[in-house]
Symmetry: C2
Subunit: 135 residues, 2 copies
């Protein structure tokens, strides 16, 4: 159902410091930077193999990332798996009885279509399904 780990989502307080660490010390090139208003975040994608590290800084107080940082501090926030057909993947999760956060896909970073499964349905792991935009 999933072709790869699309990215790991990491909540950060200092985005530029995080980019410097991943880009300079870990040698991961920056692939994209975008503010995704609907999620209240500024995001930076860095390449690692077929996947990305997605660094996320909150740009509004009521964003999920802002709440996460308040509760946990910075760190691993979610994992995202890539799919070619997000409707079919969501339907399969629904049929398996998994609790969804997004009943229908939403627009994500780089015009991707994304949907989150509830962490309670996935052993405490906030899990995102991603169908990248057709390039």
């Amino acid at each position: 159902m999933f072709g790869r780990i699309d990215h790991i989502g990491v909540a950060v307080t200092d985005l530029d410091a995080a980019v410097a660490l991943y880009e300079q010390t870990f040698g991961m090139p920056v692939a994209h930077r975008e503010t995704v208003e609907s999620f209240g975040v500024e995001a930076v994608l860095l390449d690692v193999g077929e996947s990305h590290v997605e660094l996320l800084r909150p740009v509004s107080d009521d964003s999920a990332i802002a709440r996460f940082l308040e509760r946990n501090g910075p760190g691993l926030h979610h994992v995202a798996y890539a799919t070619d057909d997000i409707e079919a993947a969501l339907e399969r999760c629904r049929a398996a009885g998994l609790r969804l956060i997004d009943e229908r896909p939403r627009r994500g970073i780089r015009n991707s279509r994304v949907a989150f499964l509830h962490p309670k349905a996935v052993g405490g792991v906030l899990t995102e399904l991603v169908q990248p935009a057709a390039h």
Copy 2:
């Protein structure tokens, strides 16, 4: 420095239930199962693209995973990046002033050589370097 995300480490309480979810609902084939005494865990690797999901159940009370489960409950525990030369990667991290948990590589799952960076050095993300065994 890192060729790919080698795996994401997920702490679980019920390993078989987690394997069933990832294998049957998410369609990730089980690649390997092993008890790694030195880390006090039973681990299952499932394939997803060039990466794995590494499900971890504690087999001893004093294991890091047992402590994590007590503090946080099940969920995302760490991320691991693959390297062809773990000594060079560790040296580069040391030179960049990053705090290490393992000064020298240890034996990991499937005869890999692994070393952990301290989460405080990586914005709260427990980060593992992995040099897979030469197959």
